[in-house]
Symmetry: C2
Subunit: 372 residues, 2 copies
Amino acid sequence: MLATETKRIAPPKRLMYGPGPSMVDPRAYEAMAQPIVGMRDPYFLEIMAEIQAGLRQALGTNSEKVFMVPGSGSAAMEAAVVNFVTPGSKFAIFAAGHFADRMTLMGQRQRAVVVRLEKPWGEIFTAAEAQDFIERERPDVVGFVQAETSTGAYQSGRNITAAARAVNTLVIADCVTSLGAMPVEMDAVGIDVAYSCSQKGLSCPAGLSPIAVSPRAWERVEKRAELPFSWYLDLAVMSKYFEPPHVYQHTPSPPLYYAMHQGLAVIEEEGLQNRWERHRRAGEKLVEGLQRLGFQLLVKRADERIWHVTTVTPPDSVDEAKLREALLQKYNIEIAGGLGQLAGKILRIGTMGPLATEENVAFLLDAIAASI
Amino acid sequence: MLATETKRIAPPKRLMYGPGPSMVDPRAYEAMAQPIVGMRDPYFLEIMAEIQAGLRQALGTNSEKVFMVPGSGSAAMEAAVVNFVTPGSKFAIFAAGHFADRMTLMGQRQRAVVVRLEKPWGEIFTAAEAQDFIERERPDVVGFVQAETSTGAYQSGRNITAAARAVNTLVIADCVTSLGAMPVEMDAVGIDVAYSCSQKGLSCPAGLSPIAVSPRAWERVEKRAELPFSWYLDLAVMSKYFEPPHVYQHTPSPPLYYAMHQGLAVIEEEGLQNRWERHRRAGEKLVEGLQRLGFQLLVKRADERIWHVTTVTPPDSVDEAKLREALLQKYNIEIAGGLGQLAGKILRIGTMGPLATEENVAFLLDAIAASI
């Protein structure tokens, strides 16, 4: 008899205070229990269109080209890179964290010339730095991370897009952690390609990842001379499924669509601005509380912080791995350690969706206080 | 107010008699309603290992290298191609259907030299044809489709693997439609890279796609001179998440894992051989009934047919699109039309998982009889 036989799924009820995956909204669970339908069923196409409309709102874009990449946030990152970063072209990356490094790897795999402006992890880029870098390199495409989950640093991207547009360079923005919890404002900021995920600010499970493309970027897709290396992530092929006549490309996952539909409905009911404000306030409370407990913030300036992902170094007396283990064992609380060069050095704490309230922040702070 | 606001998910209850997505097992729905946990949570790693064990059984392999690609079956196809078909190498494809054509496109995107042995859609390849093609072309990799969903034709692959092994050629097999409903038998057949999906024979929703790699194929991954174009689907990177120390690569989707765990548990409880036999019998009943109603089989020989995907041309008096529409409207039954060159010409009818019973076949036949 194998281990799976007769066994039912009975996970521990974790409180997902990490930087994502975050708590799934109860309405998303309810939605996933609803029966699947076919990929071109009239009902499914209705849900698809409503998700696209909801994503346009949450991303802050009027672009028609909004799709749900069938995969994790990294699939959406790769979709952005393979469709816009061509072999031999110059791809300039603003690099101050793990996900900028991941974007670098993907650019290199496309056999592009990847150049990087590097700053210490946790910092963001000034307008002068962006302008200088872009004017010097004159890249075809630039990439930056709006909310760098590995460091807790946020920048809208306005410093970067202005310089990029001046030299007709496309701007790819990693909005994996910003969408649904703080401003993306794709059109207002001037982002050409914004991608995200489902398992952070949208309070859904992972596996379905939004991508939006500006009209001027879409022109490049239409005029391209060479096909991208990926068929699965080719947006020209994929778009034909998301637009009439909805030509079969991949088989979508209805439960993930149903969940995202409800995640977006919850955001619309609360109001996007209200939701941002709630995440901002919860983050402030968490920052205050952690400082009281002797934790040091990695991102010094409040206006450079992701509201809902707080990164701290623990007091000398606290072992970060032991604290994480204690919280998991005693309270079913998941928080995360650092990634890459910050592994073992920092803690990353998320307060997203249902957890972004004063009560839930207080509960977490009490648990941490009792465990250090 | 947007369309999504306050709206709950309330899909029609379709009977999924298409070639996939098929009916989701009730236990998979129940599993998806369970709370998510983190991607390295001890509970999640336990579920992951049990899925891998269940997949080894269902695929018929002892290989340690069994992974769940985060995406649809086409993501798994692309994972197979990008990891084993290198630029400039020769990729030989046995082409008699839509999914062999898709594999061709993916091979071309890798800048490989793709050669094809073409036969009419619905046919399979003899040992002599396979041997002649492989000896003539001496390819680095061959690709074939074990169960060609677009035509209803099945071939185990034994005719192909024998010739391929004789010249040290790797064999990629598309097992998207065979897994869980009829024999894959990866090791016994001699397949090196087998990939599949979740939404057909496993009775799960789409979005998580198994791939298994033989030891001799994995050696090529380890000895490769150049990185594949894809980072997201790079099996060397991905494998580090599926094996200790479970290094973060992508964020997995817990509901899809939970569903697959239960899908495999249901198969183990029934017994793989029993399940195959049930699908075989249901397919026979359907074939008999459709012939009685005047439908013609596309695949003439019984031993070349996919048991659970039956492909037929309707009688002259029947318009296939109108029949599909009538079944959907009157009975909530989804069946599918043809793909590509068979669009408008054939119907594709699936009897998988919960629907592969005599009663459910009889119900479908009654509905068809009443609609033509």
